[in-house]
Structure formats: structure tokens, C-alpha cells
Amino acid sequence: MSAHQCGCEGQVKQAQADEAEKYVKLAQIIDEYKGQRGVLIQALHKAQGVFGWLPEEVQIKVADGLDIPLAEVHGVATFYSFFHIIPRGEHTIRVCLGTACYVRGGKQVLEQFEKELKTKVRGTTEDRTFSLEINRCVGACGLAPVVTVGADIYRRVKLDKVPEIIAKYTGGK
Amino acid sequence: MPLYRSHILVCTGTTCVLKGCTAVQSALIAEIKRRGLENEVKVVETGCLGISEKGPVMIVYPEGVTYCQLKVSDIPEIVEEHLLKGRTVSRLVYTGPVTGEVKPAHPGRQKEQRIVLKNIGIIDPTSIEEYIAYGGYEVLGKALTQMTPEQVVAEVKTSQLRGRGGAAFPTGIKWELTAQAKGDNKSVICNADEGEPGNFKDRLILEGDPHCVVEAMIIAGYAVGAKTGYLYIRGEYHQSVAHTEKAIADAKAMGLLGKDIFGSGFDYDIKVFKGAGAYVCGEETALIESLEGRRGESMVKPPFPPTQGLWGQPTVINNVETLANIPHIILNGGEWYAGIGTEKSKGTKIFSPCGDVFYPGVYEVPFGITMREVIYELAGGTKSGKPFKAVLVGGPSGACVGAESMDKTFAYEDLAPGAGALIVMDEDKCIVDTVNNCLKFFVHESCGQCIPCREGTKRMYEMTKSWTEGQGEEADLALMQALTSNLALTSRCGLGQVAGTAFATSYKLFPDEYLSHVVGAECPTGKCTMTNGGGKNNG
């Protein structure tokens, strides 16, 4: 780290401190569930709440803490689509592929996002700004195809609208 | 026999036909007739005169003048000048050095010692009279009337003649085994199913001197106690079939075949059997199957043909060239023959260099000649003048030999010649491509009954093919070697056993060239399909 000349040590230190704090929280979560049965999913939920995703280290800590084989923790984590074992982006873009959206070009919209963001479904952009997901029906079929970004909902998304949506969250970067 | 003032020998060997000798010949006959010379001059068709590259060719006797590169328009001049006026048409005369009766095409021909090919180009192969005039069937008389079968076999044994088809089994021993085997319907088979790429010597003999083979077969029949001889000729050799059929008919007409030949009490007949396109029938047991009207699939050995061959009877099978030696051996004695050649390889051998050589052709030389002499002196070196790279000795089933063996001698104890094919490659040729082509040949010609050969040749071909397309994997090389040695160990007949030889031997010589294809996906010569369509005409 000493090789850094750009004056970012401060930032790095801050990040390390944040990280350490997260692990403290994780230890609390684990303590909370220790010795109980059938709590793995709740624990993972909470852990993901802290970290935003489930890094390997977190899975290991959970496995150890709850005395569950790591293979099982990992297996459960990969079973539920809610859990993320790769880091999440700042914003999650969800393209609806429910029947109505699908027939109105949801698939193409998704592909357009994949192309623009250079990532696949369930992936995260290199700069961790976006994660790309698919949705099953959000109940806005009249306005298909629908894309959600966080709490924002975009309706009747056409292909040429995709860069616009992205730009909104990158501030034009 | 009418007496002619002049004989004109017109070469009608297969290669000369390509050059247009037929038209020249008919023009000549017409012109002679027009001039009223038909009772004085006889036009004789003959087999290859050995200078086909200069064809069409004719020789006028008794002067022994050779005219070459003839056109139909040259004929009136020759008839006018030479036959009527006795003046040589010098602009058409072949100017190469001339020795003896043969007109060599180039200096290298002087190295030849013609025993088997003695009559080739000298006599009219369609005339039994000429054959007889040149001493033919005299030996047959000698053998049938003055010698016992045992003596004939002994003479052949003394000569130490070995089979010329490639396997080099001692002929005398083969005859002896067959003679001693029990059977009331023994056969002699002349194997003229010459199919090995690069070989065309047997074709030349059958086209140019069929009686020699017929005579030898009768002697062989007498020696082993056979009743019938079979001449198994490749179906593609139309002229060979025509000439031998005529020879047999003529011999029959003269009582040289049939009942009680020469009053010896010996009955014998020869049948010509036309093959139908299967290289594997050159394998002796497959040939027998084919003669019996079956698929040409090799048989389980033992038993071997000398004890159980055609129709389950003792059978002797000899190559054309092997048999063509016989009359000379009986005439001059085994001792004489054993005096020619090297310690373990007696007599002469016919070679047929082809591929990238200046003078492709058929040459008969004594054993012990070096490869350099054959390739550089007889065949004139590479056609392109570029450095020599390698030669497939004996054809695709033989070994790939490189320049380092140039001074080895052709002899069974040194460099085994196979059937005599020499497929020469200059430095421009890609070894992998050539081996791939050899394997393609074996895939096409495998009879398909035994697993290693049927499936193995296919897999070997697929592998080399992928190499020439830059699709190889390094592990392929080890796999190919393993497969090659397994085929050699387990295949039922020679075809599968030798199918991998070209690869195995060439890989030893040119490992880098293989690696470059397999690992580097690159052909150093640029001749592979990976770079272009292959072959000289695309270069």
C-alpha cells in the first residue's frame, strides 16, 4: 500500500475500516443464531443485508459459526435467487420476462442491457455500478416491457431507451 | 516364315500410346502399303523401349536406327528416305548413346543389366514366332525333356532366387514345399495384381514379353506337379490381359500348352483371370479367395498356400518378375544366376522410380546397386533439380527413406527394395501430406474384415488428415505411434501390418515437420491442404 502516490491511502483506510465493521456485524448475527436449527437462511439474509452480497469469507464465517458444512452453506446460497455470491452493483436493473413483457420484446431489451453493460444476467458490471437481473411479472403487463432499477420503474421500454436509463444512474460517466 | 528386308519396331507400350504412337503406327503401315513395301518391311508392335519420354518411338532394323518424337507427318519422309533410299533421317534420330540392342534414353541406362527385360522392346509381344526366334520355349523343352521336376526345383534353389513381390520368400523353397505337399490338383498362380502405387514393372513385362511369363509358369507347373496355371492380372491392365491371352492361345496352338507337352506326358493349361479392382488381392490368400469367386478377403494363416491354397490344394504363387527370371535360370543354370548380385540377394531387381524424378521408368539392375545410383544416375535425379527429400521404398507400404541412406545398397541384407517402387519426393513435398495420402490409399483398399485394419486405418487417416488441416493435438503423435505398432502386431494380413510403416519411418526422419503440423498448425513446405489445394500444379 505504501507504493500509493495518489493520496488515496485515506480512502483505502476508510474502506478497510468499513469492512472490519461489517465483520463485527456479521459476528453479531452469527452469535444471534448460534446453536439454533433451521436458521441458515435467516442468517444469510442478514449477512447479505450487511455486505450487499455473500463473499466467500462470509459464507465460511456462517458455516463455522453455525456448524454447518461450508458446502451446504454454499449450496443453499446458490439455490435461492435472492442470495448473491458475486458482488452486487450499486443499482440493480431488473428486466421483466413475464409472458406479456416477453412477447413485447423484453428479451431484446434484456439483450440490449447485456450489450450496453457488458455483463450477463445475474452478473455485475466491472465498475460495480449495475447488476443485471431478470424479473418474473411485476404486474404491469399493460405497460410491457417493464424494467425496474431499484425502486424506479420504466414502462414500455424500447431498445433505444436502454442507454438513457443507464446514463441516468451513471451521471453520464 | 516370310523373309523381310527390314523390321520396324514401333513401341506401343502404355506410355507411348499416350504420346500418340497408334496414329504414327497406322500412318506407317499405310505408307508402306502405298509404296508397295508390305512384303519387304514388317511393322512390329513392341513393348516399351525404355525411352517413352521421347515417344512415339520406332527402331528400324537391321540398321538399328532409333527415331523419336515422331509425328504422323514425319512418316512419308522416313519411308521415302530410309526404306526406299536407305538414307537416315537425321533430324529425327535419337541421339542418346547406344549400346547393345537396347537404345538407352539417357546415360544411366548403361547401369542396367537386363535379364528379365531382355526381350522388352526387342520383340513383338504378340508374336510367338518372334519369341521363339529369340530363343523362347527352348528352355521349356530342356526342362520337360531333360530334367526331372526335382532337378528343376533344385536349379531354382541353387539360384537363390527370392520372391520379387516384396516379401522375398525363397522361390525354390516355396516350389519344394508345394511339390512335396499332397494334392491331386495343384496350381501355379502368377500374381500379376500389381497394385502397389509406384510399381509398374509387371505391367511392362506382361505387355512386352508375355511368353516369358507363360513359359515360366509351365516350368513351374512341371516342377511342382500342377495341372493348371492361373494368371491373375489386374483388371485395369487391359493391354496386359490382351497380350497374355493371345500368348496363351498361340502357345496352345503350338502344343506348348495342353496335353502331353513336348511328348513329356505333362499336361498343363493356363487361364487368364482378370481382377476387378482390389489392391488387397495382391495378398496371396486374398488372391486365392478372389480366384474362387469370393470377396478378396485374406484367409487365416496357417495353413499357407503351398500346402493348402486354391480349392484347398497345394498352390504356388509367384510374382510376375519372379517367374520371368525362371527361364533364364534354367537356361544358364542356378550357379550362373547366383553369381549375380550380392551375398544374400541374387540376381537382378527391377526398380520403378517415379514421382519427382527426371526419368521415371523401369530399370533392371543387379542387387547391390546404391540408392544414389538408382535415383541420380538411372532416374536422373529430381525433376525440378531441387534437393532430394525422401523416397518411399516399395511404395506406400514401404519405408520412408531419406538422404542419409543414399549410399545404402539395395539388397535384402541392407535396404530391402520391396517390389521395387521408388516414390521420390523433392524438398518441396510435404511429408505429412504424402503420408496422409498413403493412409487414404489403405483406407480405400482395406478389405475390412479384421478390426485393427478396418477401423485403425480409418483413424490413422483421420488423424493425419487433421494434421494437414492444422487441427492436430500433440497427444495425437503418441497415439498414432501406438496405433501403428498395434496394427503391425495384430492385423490379419500384410495390408494392415504395413499400413503404418510410412508414418512410423517418416516420423523418425522428420519429427520436426510433424510437430510443426501438429503443434504449430503450419506446413513448412506450404503444400498441405491447410495452405492450399496441394500438389505441384497449385504451387
Binding site: 474502506a15 468499513d18 469492512e19 466467500e56 463455522d64 461450508l70 458446502a71 451446504e72 454454499h74 458482488p87 | -
Partner: protein, 587 residues
């Protein structure tokens, strides 16, 4: 016990309450095919092969459906047949079919089921799941392309062995059984016991095949190839050739090995006896000198790896003795090499073991008497030996009986029973008793510590001393004892632990299948072999005594320590993960 009566295919049958339909059908003599079902271990109804018609709207899995009074079960009607067929066909659509070169060919449950159900077409053709081929482990190879996701391996790893190295990840069509974090097996806390291989119905898990290395060594004229065979092998090898479980084939095995071309056929039993002398003395030493107690046996490499990963703090409890296999290797390349006048590097030691973990053990760097030369070169499982004998085309059952070569082939009944759980303990007690008391032990059979229970305890009076012993087989049972020690609740002197249920006779390298019934039969064979031997105590083995006299000096001597003892390495429970990604997250 309360019984329920039901009819299956019109046949009335009574079974204890709580039985499944599958149990009932067995009692009725009606076959129902199964795949994921693993008796006493695993009934999850995942594979759907055992579907039957119980009159409900949907078909039910016989392995999970409880038998009830008056129930009418139909195991064979168009619905059932078509369902089963479809299930198998679907399985096949995601199963890489290369039966002919699969290690499980002709011993594959899927192959058998397909045959029984008369499957003759393959209607579903499409994308195959991505193949994960993991050859990282020296013991076990995993090939997901053949996996039918029955999860037997998961259950056995987790519940029977308490290791939990494997678990399903992802879901639906993408589901795969993998080690944690989709690591390679070598990178996780796998103990290499091979129990997963043993229960795998297909060829998705199998031992790393080393037979070619052995064939090569045998064919190499410069190598002096010796072979040792573990005690449990002889009680199971016959099963590879269709002989009933529990057939003793020691003599045939020796003859087969000799005909295969081994230069010497020795016996791991020899070093099993040696182990008793070393370990017995170590125990006495610890008892006398207040060493760490309880002392735990160290013959089982799966167990060693387990304690290294999961209880590294308890490592001082382990006996420092190497396993008999490794003692043998060390002696073969020192004592025997000297005696026979052969250079150690020219000796090639092959072990035939009931165990896949032994393949790992022999590669441990500690296990070489000469630097750079492993003491044991190749370990083969019982199955691999079976394979080699088949390749030789031998009529195994009818081979003449042969005898092991000396000196490393001489052994006692005490060594033979090493193959069964409790055997090491019994063998040790036979010797310790006589050493301590100086009296002759009349009844050498310590039947109290025999049997297949997971954890056994006993107190044995040795002279004045009440020796408290415990025995566990199967790692989840071992875990119970470890927790006791950890919590200071264990007052044992001596504990025997075997990694695999039933001990080595149930090892992961033994013929497939291995069931409790088969374990019992093999155990019977082992005790029978012991009974038939005249010498049944390790300290009476004349070859071992000669070894001490000629070479080692005395138990626990300097040379012993050098060659026969070892040390253990604490290992992480989890693989080294790439922490970089976590800590640089803020950039």
C-alpha cells in the same frame, strides 16, 4: 410390533407399522427399481424411479410412502410403467453415455434400471449440463456428466462421515453436486475416504485409477516390484468375481498377484503386527509417564485427515505410529532392500488397500525413508485389483491357493482383524495384556468390542489396571468421541477410530455395493481367518521378532522412530480463499 396389512399387486402382505411401501414390496417378493434410495441412510424420493400407484391422484415414491392398513398398491400398470420410463429417459438425456468405457459398466445401477425397465429409446435430446471433471484429488475423481443427482454422496459425506465436503449448488437444470464454493476436491476438507464412491449408483465418482502405473512397473525389468495387501482386501475381493460376500480368498489373491508378475507378494498384516508392538508400547509408555491420554489409533488415513482438518487441537492424542501400509513401505525400502541387496530406488512398492485415502497417504511428504523416494509408490483399491485380475483373464475363484513370501509376508491373527472395526483394539489388548501381566491370555477373543455399532465402549482388566477403551467407526461417530474429549468428558485410555463404517472392510475402495449385510459377511470372514491361524498375537510373530533382533532393536527405539513413527499437520477447515477481493472492495 404393530403390523399393518396391505395388498401389493393383489398380493396381501403384513409389515411392521412404519414400513414404507418399498419395504412392504420386498416382503411380498415384488421388485421395485430404485436409484437414489440407500438403505438405512437415505430415502428422499428424488429419483422417482420407485413410483407406484397407491390410488392417489399422483404416483408416489415407494421408498418414502408409508405402508398403511388396507392400502392397495399397484407397482405395475401403464401409469407406473410410463412414468418410470420417462424418468429414466429424462435422466439419460442429461447423462453422458459412454458406458463401455465407464468404470462402473456392468455394475451401474442406472444401467441395470434401464435394462429392467426395458428402455429402448431416448426421446429427449437436447442440451447437456456443463461437465465438471475434477481430477485434482489423488484419491477420487468426480465427473458431473454422469451424475444423476441422487445425492447419496451428499448424505453419506455429511451424515455418515460428518465431513460435508459435497453439496448441491444452483438449482433446476443447473444443479450440480460440488465441494463448497465450487472448489476442486483437493482444495476442501475432504478426507478422501471414498464413501461417496462406494454409494454412487453410477460412474460420477470413482477412484483415481492407478492400474496403468502398476502394469508399467511390472513390465519394467529394472524394477523390483513388491506388493502388500491389507487385511480387509482378502475378505472382499471375491465379490469382484461374483463370489458371495464373506468369501475368504487370501490364497487365490496371492496366486493372482504372483501370476500378474509381482516379484514378491507380501502382506500388510506383517506391519499390522508391528504396529501393535509399537503402539502397544507407546500406550504403556504414555500410561506410565503421564503422556496425553486417551491415545487414539492412527492407522486410518481418512481419520487422520479428518482430525487434522476438524480437530487440530487434539492431534497430540494420536499415536505417532504410521499406518501399517506406511510402515511396510518404509521397511521395504530399508530393511528388505538391505536384506535382498536391492537399491531402494529400484524397489517399487504397490499396496492393495480397501481404501481410497491410502492413495493420498502414500503421497504425504512425511512418508519417505529416502528423500525424494516415496515409501509406497502406488496404492490400488480392492476394485482396481479386481480390474487388473479381470484384464489378466484369470478364473479367480478356481485359482490354486498361494502363500505370501517371507519375511514381510508372515503375520498373525491379530493382524488379520485390523480389517474390522475394533480389530486394532482387540489385537492391541491381546499383546498389552500379556506384556503387562506376563501371563498367557487364554481367550483371545474380545467379543465385547466386536460388532458394527458406531461407538463401542469397554473396560478391560489388564492386571491391576482397568483399561477403559472406546471404539468408533464412521467419522460422525468419531466426532462424538472427539467432542467428548474436547469437553473433558472422556476418561478413556485408548481409542480406536476407523474412518469408514465397519472399519476397513467397509472402506471406500471395497467392491460395490457395500451394505450392512455385506459388511457383516466380510467381518465374519475376517474373524474366521483369525480363528484359523495358529499364531494370533502380534508379539508372537517370529518375523517381527526377527526384524527387531536384526534391524530395529526394540519397540520405540531410535530406528523405530525414524522409520515407523510420524507427526501430524494441523490443517484449515476451509480452503485458503482469495481474500484480496474482499479487502480491496472499496476501490
Amino acid at each position: 410390533m404393530e403390523q399393518v396389512t396391505l395388498t401389493i399387486d393383489g398380493k396381501e402382505v403384513s409389515v411392521p407399522k412404519g414400513s414404507t411401501v418399498l419395504d412392504a414390496s420386498k416382503a411380498a417378493g415384488i421388485g421395485i427399481p430404485t436409484l437414489c434410495h440407500l438403505e438405512n441412510v437415505h430415502a428422499i424420493g428424488a429419483c422417482r424411479i420407485c413410483l407406484v400407484d397407491v390410488g392417489a391422484r399422483s404416483l408416489q415414491t415407494a421408498c418414502t410412502y408409508p405402508a398403511s392398513e388396507g392400502m392397495k398398491v399397484v407397482t405395475n400398470n401403464p401409469r407406473v410403467r410410463s412414468a418410470r420410463k420417462t424418468v429414466v429417459e429424462l435422466m439419460l438425456s442429461a447423462h453422458r453415455q459412454e458406458c463401455t468405457c465407464c468404470p462402473r459398466s456392468l455394475n451401474c445401477e442406472l444401467q441395470k434400471v434401464a435394462k429392467i425397465l426395458g428402455i429402448q429409446e431416448h426421446r429427449f435430446d437436447g442440451e447437456m449440463p456443463e461437465q465438471i471433471l475434477d481430477t485434482s484429488s489423488p484419491s477420487i475423481t468426480r465427473d458431473s456428466s454422469k451424475c444423476i443427482l441422487c445425492r447419496r454422496c451428499v448424505t453419506v459425506c455429511q451424515q455418515v462421515q460428518g465431513v460435508g465436503a459435497l453439496f448441491p449448488v444452483d438449482r433446476g437444470f443447473e444443479t450440480a453436486i460440488v465441494p463448497a464454493l465450487k472448489n476442486d476436491l483437493i482444495d476442501v476438507a475432504c478426507v478422501m475416504c471414498g464413501q461417496c464412491v462406494s454409494v454412487c449408483p453410477v460412474g460420477a465418482l470413482y477412484e483415481k485409477d492407478s492400474t496403468d502405473d502398476v502394469w508399467k512397473a511390472i513390465a519394467d525389468p529394472t524394477k523390483h516390484v513388491v506388493v502388500q495387501t491389507a487385511p480387509a482386501v482378502r475378505a472382499a475381493l471375491g465379490e469382484e468375481f461374483g463370489m458371495p460376500a464373506g468369501t475368504r480368498v487370501t490364497g487365490q489373491m496371492v496366486t493372482a498377484l504372483r501370476q500378474m508378475g509381482f516379484d514378491k507378494v507380501f502382506d500388510t498384516d506383517f506391519t499390522a503386527d508391528l504396529t501393535i508392538l509399537e503402539e502397544g508400547n507407546e500406550l504403556l509408555h504414555r500410561v506410565k509417564n503421564g503422556g496425553t491420554l486417551p491415545m487414539i489409533t492412527s492407522c486410518s488415513p481418512g481419520w487422520i485427515k479428518y482430525i487434522e482438518h476438524f480437530y487440530p487441537t487434539l492431534l497430540p492424542h494420536l499415536s505417532t505410529c504410521k499406518s501399517p501400509q506406511q510402515m511396510f513401505g518404509a521397511l521395504a525400502k530399508t530393511y528388505y532392500a538391505e536384506k535382498a541387496g536391492i537399491k531402494p530406488e529400484d524397489i517399487f512398492v504397490v499396496s492393495i488397500m480397501p481404501c481410497t485415502a491410502k492413495k493420498y497417504e502414500c503421497q504425504r511428504t512425511e512418508m519417505s525413508a529416502h528423500p525424494g523416494i516415496p515409501d509406497v509408490d502406488v496404492v490400488l483399491t480392492t476394485r482396481e485389483l479386481g480390474k487388473m485380475i479381470r484384464e489378466m483373464g484369470m478364473d479367480f475363484a478356481n485359482l490354486p491357493k498361494g502363500e505370501c513370501d517371507s519375511p514381510l509376508g508372515l503375520s498373525t491373527g491379530a493382524a488379520v482383524i485390523f480389517g474390522a472395526t475394533g480389530g486394532v483394539m482387540e489385537a492391541a489388548l491381546r499383546t498389552v495384556y500379556e506384556v503387562v501381566t506376563g501371563e498367557t491370555l487364554d481367550n483371545v477373543n474380545f467379543t465385547a468390542i466386536r460388532g458394527l455399532e458406531g461407538v463401542k465402549e469397554a473396560t478391560v482388566k489388564v492386571g491391576d489396571l482397568d483399561v477403559k477403551v472406546a471404539i468408533a467407526s464412521g467419522l460422525s461417530n468419531a466426532k462424538k468421541l472427539m467432542e467428548k474429549i474436547k469437553n473433558g468428558e472422556a476418561d478413556y485410555h485408548f481409542i480406536e477410530i476407523m474412518c469408514c463404517p465397519g472399519g476397513c472392510l467397509g472402506g471406500g475402495g471395497q467392491p460395490i455395493p457395500t451394505t450392512n449385510e455385506i459388511r457383516k459377511a466380510r467381518m465374519g470372514a475376517i474373524y474366521e481367518e483369525d480363528e484359523h491361524l495358529t499364531i494370533r498375537k502380534s508379539h508372537e510373530n517370529p518375523a517381527v521378532l526377527a526384524l527387531y533382533a536384526e534391524f530395529l532393536g526394540e519397540p520405540l527405539g531410535h530406528k523405530s522412530h525414524e522409520l515407523l513413527h510420524t507427526h501430524y499437520t494441523p490443517r484449515a477447515k476451509y480452503p485458503e480463499t482469495d481474500k484480496e477481493e474482499v479487502t480491496t472492495g472499496g476501490e
